[in-house]
């Protein structure tokens, strides 16, 4: 599905290297988790993959289904099936959730040469999906994320993901700020989307999330590189012992 080869990234405005030769490959239908200390570059990786400005790729290659991802505009990447659930979802006063979602769904369909969703069909689908995530439909009429609680924002990211049906989903700390019940809801939302054709990259600090969303592979990232790759047991090891041993090993 996605293949990241020897990716080097620095900040555009400063001479600060963040990703330093990162390799990662996720097959169709797989769920991979990334854990790693604060500041190790996890969010940067997710932003670079989705095309945010401010970063400069100084080396390496990313292929999404055989297509060079880094050459595309953010909106083209989205239409190609990439989705990032933001660590900090953005508030947009004056743009309602509904407008935002419908515009996004139809823009992607248009970009792919598919037929646009009618207003009534859209409403039906969005109601259904909101319900399973326990998102109040009235909330969707409000401005994008404005006045939403931390947990509501994260659930809203998953709703967008469910509506857009991407093939490569990156979840950046979607569990942070969620209470126990919301974490279950969100995990169920994610699990419902698991399919042999869809892959996930789940960034998290806590093993707890991985009890709900069972990863096939766990990676440990430090100082801009993947320093260790293993199975779910690696997450347990981090939970119990922290990163010290792994970091020592990795050097």
């Amino acid at each position: 599905m996605i293949e990241i080869k020897n990716l080097h990234v620095k900040l555009e405005k400063e001479d600060k290297k963040i990703l330093k030769g990162l390799n990662l490959s996720i097959g169709a239908g797989e769920v991979h988790a990334i854990m790693g200390p604060n500041g190790s570059g996890k969010s940067t990786l997710s932003y670079v993959l989705s095309g945010r400005e401010g970063y400069e790729v100084t080396g390496g290659l990313v292929m999404l289904d055989g297509v060079k991802l880094l050459d595309m505009e953010p909106q083209e990447r989205a239409a190609a099936g990439l989705f990032l659930a933001f660590q900090y979802p953005v508030e947009i006063p004056g743009v309602s959730n509904m407008t935002f979602l419908r515009t996004a769904v139809n823009a992607q369909r248009k970009a792919r040469g598919e037929e646009e969703m009618s207003a009534s069909e859209f409403l039906k689908v969005v109601r259904e999906k909101a319900k399973t995530l326990k998102i109040d439909v009235d909330m969707l009429k409000r401005s994008m994320n404005v006045g939403f609680s931390g947990g509501e924002k994260k659930r809203n990211e998953i709703l967008q993901m469910a509506m857009l049906e991407p093939r490569m989903c990156i979840l950046d700390e979607t569990d942070s700020g969620l209470d126990v019940d919301a974490m279950k809801l969100v995990s169920e939302g994610v699990n419902a989307l698991r399919s042999p054709r869809r892959s996930f990259l789940v960034i998290t600090h806590y093993q707890r999330l991985l009890d709900h969303i069972k990863p096939d592979v766990v990676h440990i990232m430090a100082a801009g590189r993947i320093i260790k790759t293993g199975g779910p047991e690696l997450a347990l090891q981090v939970e119990n012992n922290g990163y010290a041993d792994l970091l020592a090993e990795g050097v």
Partner: protein, 425 residues
């Protein structure tokens, strides 16, 4: 006060080609008084403090710069779908052929030129009267010029709830169009009306509306200037509110070389409410100026000024807004916000908010901001698959939302929003 020579000569040149329509009557007298006011003031000049940010010279030359006609067929008129009474003016003259009959239940509508010939008329106490009051404490000579030389207009007396809006439409058939229109609207106790204005107007357009609101009267005004970029316009709306009256005005300006919109509002009775709002979208050699003067004389009145400018490629926006709270106007609630969204580094927004308060128990606030588009929000939208231009359009609409929401009638605000969406998204 004596005018300096330059001002006197400029005024003489400007009015040399104008003539006060004959016909005498009450209107003749009102025009003569307006001319006297104008002669005493002279035309505005670049050095006048009130024209500090806007160069009035193209509004005051003897003839307007020749201007290509605007083809309206490539632009939808925003109010086309509405049930309304259409009154069409071409180059400043009422066009009976394209207009509906001047018949609207609960409302009397007359043409200025015809009604002006009689000896007495209700509009005598309004035409030029609010304009004259509005010359203090700041002079507005172009409105006096209008009262003196207006070529046409309508006099509207509202006695009940008007069953549909009156829609004033301005067209031009001449490259040298120099239209001067003057309307008067009197809304009697408890009555209500909506006035819509749109159309490309022409090379130069000078328009005045005087609005007199009796106790509990309600007046809604929505003006949507089209996308004729080649026009220059100066407009004044003067309003006087009695107890419990409501005044609401919204203007949309999407283009034009130069627009100066002045609103001069007096809250005379207690518990009256006046909201003035505007949304302006400017590209390149666009200069837009909202100048507002609200006077609170009654108690417990509320006023709001909400102005939003979206500017790019060197466009210029100006806001001069004043709230004057007179002695005794206790419990005044005055609010004023002017904001600009600068889509590039070349565009400029000048804001001059002013408060002058002579009562002690009042709540007044004002604010002004200028900023760029929110890059994080833009990226968020794009990361969801929304093309850049569409994403920017959505953010621009969101920025304008507060001004548009000042329109009470949802069917009209939806039309304005749809018009903008069509242009932006």
């Amino acid at each position: 006060m004596l005018l300096d020579v330059a001002k006197r000569d400029a005024l003489a040149a400007r009015i040399a080609n104008l003539s006060i329509p004959t016909g005498g009557g009450w209107l003749g007298a009102a025009r003569a008084e307006a001319l006297a006011r104008l002669l005493a003031m002279g035309l505005p000049g670049k050095r006048d403090e009130y024209w500090r940010y806007t160069d009035p010279s193209s509004l005051t030359t003897a003839v307007p710069p020749k201007t290509p006609l605007f083809a309206t067929d490539n632009e939808l008129m925003p109010f086309s779908g509405l049930d309304r009474l259409k009154l069409v003016f071409i180059d400043g003259v009422f066009d009976a052929v394209q207009s509906d009959d001047l018949a609207l239940a609960g409302v009397e509508i007359e043409r200025l030129g015809i009604a002006g010939r009689s000896d007495i008329h209700w509009a005598q106490s309004l035409y030029g009267v609010l304009e004259a009051r509005g010359q203090m404490p700041v002079e507005r000579p172009l409105s006096a010029l209008n009262s003196a030389f207006a070529t046409d207009g309508v006099l509207v007396r509202v006695k009940g709830n008007a069953e549909r809006p009156i829609s004033l439409i301005y067209h031009s058939n001449s490259e040298n169009s120099d239209a001067i229109l003057h309307h008067c609207v009197s809304v009697e106790e408890g009555a209500e009306i909506t006035i819509l204005e749109n159309g490309p107007a022409g090379a130069r357009f000078n328009k005045v509306i005087e609005v007199d609101l009796a106790k509990g009267a309600r007046f809604h005004h929505i003006s949507a200037q089209g996308r004729n970029h080649q026009c220059r316009a100066v407009t004044h709306i003067f309003a006087r509110l009695a107890e419990g009256a409501l005044f609401k005005s919204f203007t949309l300006t999407a283009n034009s070389l130069l627009t100066r919109n002045e609103a001069v509002i007096e809250l005379l009775g207690d518990d009256a409410m006046a909201h003035v709002a505007g949304a302006a979208l400017g590209d390149r050699n666009f200069h837009h100026d909202d100048t507002v003067f609200v006077t609170h004389a009654g108690q417990r009145c509320e006023s709001r000024q909400v102005f939003k400018n979206v500017l790019k490629n060197g466009a210029v926006g100006v806001f001069q807004g004043k709230i004057l709270v007179k002695n005794g106007a206790q419990k005044t609630d005055g609010y004023q916000i002017s904001q600009s969204l600068l889509l590039d580094g070349d565009s400029q927004f000048f804001a001059k908010p002013e408060l002058e308060i002579y009562a002690d128990d009042v709540k007044c606030s004002h604010g002004s901001t200028s900023g760029a588009i929110d890059e994080t929000a833009l990226f968020y939208l794009r990361s969801r698959g929304v093309p850049t231009q569409m994403a920017q359009g959505l953010l621009v609409l969101a920025f304008l939302a507060e001004a548009i929401s000042e329109i009470d009638d949802n069917s009209i605000s939806d039309l304005i929003r749809a018009q903008l969406e069509g242009w932006l998204v």
